[in-house]
């Protein structure tokens, strides 16, 4: 067998047992790997009524056929579980070296079922597997737990997935790390792992990945690597990490997420730009496995009251939520907050979103000192942000409410709907579609894991497409869609990108290599996959696999009775014109309703419910799913009787 190692481990944590299962050829060809495998397992094992924090939920960690090879950036891992944050489909992916190590040990996927009776960690040493006691590392920060396990197992070169105190305390947006700082941030599966009493999964693999056509694979990957090395977008990422985005995002396009995404511009944004950051804070470059770009960094604080603190990253989405989003514009405090979120093991985006939501509620008078236990939630109050991050992690006082995420917090307190920047229960990241692009806005509304889905489609055709003339014409059919703030062609762009991203995610290749710069396109990926596996995939087949995965994830939401009425973005983007600024976003709103109908048509969604259409599901080989959704369609129609189609619920 080439590419795949063809095995996965299914743990029954309640009993303390595991099975090593073979994945048959048809299964591999249908779902590819990582995201595809995980989505299939989640859909078929966790029903709509399961409480995400109960033992009935399942956590899957998956890698793909190209993981652990010379292919650029093939080390990513998808983590999937029913999300405790949104209550729906949840997955997230991380870089690092753990995924490749799992492959070297001989597996494509780990499935965690049930609940361990006491704090435990898993040790996979090639084909030797153990569940070990973790009571001595319970409560530790991921980086400390990592060090203790390495010491204990006597090998500092093993790779370990860990959760932090936030995961143990069931903070609904706790995340998972590997190699200390590589986070699968979103949807809160860290809490699911915590609820299963699992602290870490350590892996050592000494095997390898067989390549069907080694010479050809070496040649194609080398060409791709060379393209990446000369690509302007990739060069920016190599030199400055993803904070390179700050300058164009603020000064040109105007989507700088200032104060809970109310504003898109700040004159001092330069303070936290990649260019300034690399001079002030860069300690070292830090690349994921086999990466051609190496956008990762380790940052340190060299002066001031936080002197001596250091952490991995932060990348753009980990720096801005507890920085500009809460009204902080200096890099020391931003980095200090990133140190805290990494140490506690929580999703920086949701943590920052929760605090910024509370700050906006405070500004508008919806929250008072009575609610917050005396804390003054004024914008940019660094001391309060520091306190709240700790209080959320250990679920103390007002932090206990915020640890539920802003969506649940607002419901609990019965306030602040107009301050919520949330779709399907999940906060949007630091990307404002009023400046970033209408394609992004559409993908936020329809993404299959909630409002964060800049990564479900990653509309780089719109953001950097202009750098590659002819690309948009070829894929979408019009060059017009290279402009971010138009609606023309955007539904098709999002549809195409979502399908492509789904199969790329299943190959576990990094989107910065395949999307961001478009250095590697399908015409590279298809022969690469064939050279690894020795099979005969075509571009059409891969896009169909992507579409199958996408529709299955959407069907999962459908069973949760979430469909077209939930396909929306926060009012902020559709009804509040961007405050005046010198950048392109000034005065813009997101014309979501103009794009949705065409998108539905392309997806062949059922017009009444927005559920995946029966014909489409059958075409994709998901006949069972089509049957299963029938009663849910009826329920959904019943639930929304009398409502106008396409309008939002709230």
């Amino acid at each position: 067998m080439y590419g795949w190692r063809g095995k996965r481990i299914r743990f029954n944590l309640t009993k303390g047992t595991w099975d090593v299962e073979e994945t048959p050829y048809e299964y591999r060809r249908k779902w590819l790997g990582g995201r595809g495998y995980n989505s299939e397992v989640l859909y078929n094992s966790v029903g709509p009524d399961v409480d995400p924090l109960s033992p009935e939920n399942v956590v899957c960690l998956g890698v793909g056929p190209m993981s652990g090879t010379f292919g650029p950036s093939t080390g990513r891992v998808t983590v999937t579980a029913k999300s405790p944050l949104t209550g729906g489909f949840g997955d997230s992916n991380m870089g690092g070296h753990w995924g490749a190590e799992l492959k070297f040990a001989g597996y494509e996927q780990i499935i965690l079922e049930g609940k361990a009776p006491k704090p435990s960690y898993i040790w996979i040493d090639d084909d030797k597997i153990e569940i070990r006691d973790a009571s001595h590392i319970w409560g530790k920060y991921p980086r400390d737990a990592d060090a203790i396990i390495k010491e204990e197992l006597g090998d500092k070169d093993i790779h370990i997935v860990t959760i932090g105190p936030a995961g143990e305390n069931l903070v609904r947006f706790a995340c998972t790390f590997n190699d200390c700082y590589r986070a699968a941030g979103r949807t809160g599966h860290g809490a699911v792992i915590g609820s299963k009493n699992i602290k870490a999964i350590a892996v050592r693999g000494t095997g390898g990945v067989k390549i069907a056509n080694p010479e050809e694979y070496f040649k194609i990957c080398s060409e791709w690597r060379e393209t990446m090395r000369t690509d302007p977008m990739a060069q920016g990422l190599l030199n400055y990490g993803s904070l390179i985005l700050i300058m164009p995002c603020n000064y040109e396009m105007g989507w700088f997420p200032w104060k809970n995404l109310k504003y898109g511009y700040h004159p001092d944004a330069r303070n936290i730009s990649g260019e300034v950051w690399s001079k002030k804070h860069l300690r070292h470059k830090e690349g994921c496995f086999s990466c051609a770009i190496c956008c990762g960094i380790v940052s340190e604080i060299r002066e001031g009251k936080y002197k001596g603190e250091y952490t991995g990253g932060p990348e753009y989405e980990a720096a801005v939520p507890t920085g500009p989003r809460v009204g902080i514009i200096d890099s020391e405090t931003t980095l200090h907050n990133a140190v805290l979120t990494n140490n506690f093991g929580m999703d920086a985006i949701e943590a920052g979103a929760a605090i910024s939501w509370a700050m906006e509620c405070w500004e508008k008078g919806y929250l008072t000192a009575k609610d917050t236990g005396g804390l003054e939630l004024t914008w940019g109050n660094a001391e309060v942000v520091d306190k709240l991050l700790r209080m959320m992690t250990y679920r103390e006082g007002f932090g206990d409410i915020l640890a539920e995420g802003p969506w649940r917090a607002s419901q609990k307190l019965g306030i602040g709907e107009d301050c919520l920047v949330v779709t399907r229960g999940m906060s949007l990241p630091g990307d404002d579609p009023r400046g970033l692009g209408f394609g992004y806005g559409l993908s936020f509304a329809v993404g299959t894991r909630g409002g964060c889905d800049h990564l479900r489609s990653l509309c780089c055709l719109e953001l950097s497409g202009y750098l590659y003339p002819g690309l948009n014409k070829k894929i979408v059919g019009t060059e017009e869609c290279s402009k971010p703030l138009v609606t023309a062609g955007k539904p098709k762009m999002v549809y195409w990108e979502e399908n492509q991203k789904a199969f790329v995610d299943s190959l576990q290749v990094c989107c910065f290599n395949t999307h961001w710069s478009y250095g590697c396109r399908n015409e590279h990926l298809v022969p690469m996959l064939n050279a690894v596996t020795g099979l005969d995939f075509t571009e059409d087949e891969l896009m169909t696999i992507g579409e199958r995965i996408y529709n299955l994830e959407r069907a999962y939401w459908a069973k949760m009775l979430s469909g077209k009425y939930e396909d929306t973005v926060p009012r902020r983007f559709t009804h509040e014109p961007m405050p005046e600024n010198p950048a392109a976003s000034s005065g813009k709103v997101l014309p979501l309703d103009e794009m949705l109908p065409e998108y539905y048509k392309l997806r062949e969604y059922d017009p009444e419910t927005g559920f995946p259409g029966e014909k489409k599901l059958k075409e994709l080989g998901l006949e069972d799913v089509a049957e299963e959704l029938k009663p849910y369609r009826k329920k959904y129609i019943e639930l929304h009787k009398g409502k106008k189609g396409g309008k939002k619920k709230k």
């Binding site: 990592d146 500092k156 095997g207 390898g208 990945v209 190599l238 070292h284 470059k285 690349g287």
Partner: protein, 161 residues
């Protein structure tokens, strides 16, 4: 006089991505596996430091000296490492003797392997995305190192660092 070329490591540029390991193992072993790579990256994830360790092409190669069968040698023409698999018995003497952990035993053949510089165009150097590895004559790589240090110190003295 022609100088020996060797692989200089500039660890301040190493991102720990291990592309070098994959390039080595795929090129030489037709398989992707760090365990078959002649160069290995030692990483310290917590603080982000990484350091590639590979064959130093010693002037007095101890792996050659200890080899009881004569399988381990230096190619007289290319100056690169050479293992004669026909006569290697997999005794691991070279592994025990190498002070850098650069020699290894293949899990597929049971025979020793060591860096052969890919016949004069080392793939680890060629594909390193951060240019941390440098394949050049000894004197030249030392000059580069010296100049990098000088530039750094001067920049700091002028307050530009």
């Amino acid at each position: 006089m022609e100088q020996t070329k060797f692989i200089m490591i500039n660890p301040e540029k190493c991102s720990g991505c291990r592309t070098c390991e994959m390039a080595c193992s795929l090129y030489n072993e037709k398989e992707c596996s760090p365990s078959l790579s002649r160069i290995r990256v030692v990483r310290n994830e917590a603080i982000g430091d990484s350091f590639p360790v590979g064959c130093a092409l010693c002037s007095k190669p101890v792996c050659v000296e200890v080899c009881p069968t004569g399988a381990n040698s230096i190619d007289p023409e290319l100056g690169t490492g050479l293992i004669n698999e026909e006569i290697c018995v997999g005794c691991k003497a070279c592994v025990r003797a190498c002070p850098f952990g650069a020699a290894g035993i293949s899990y597929r053949t049971g025979k020793a392997y060591k860096c052969n510089l890919c016949g004069g165009d080392p793939m680890c150097v060629k594909h390193c995305p951060t240019k941390c590895l440098e394949y050049a004559p000894l004197e030249l790589t030392v000059r580069h190192r010296r100049r990098a240090l000088a530039d750094d110190v001067i920049a700091k003295l002028k307050g530009e660092g």
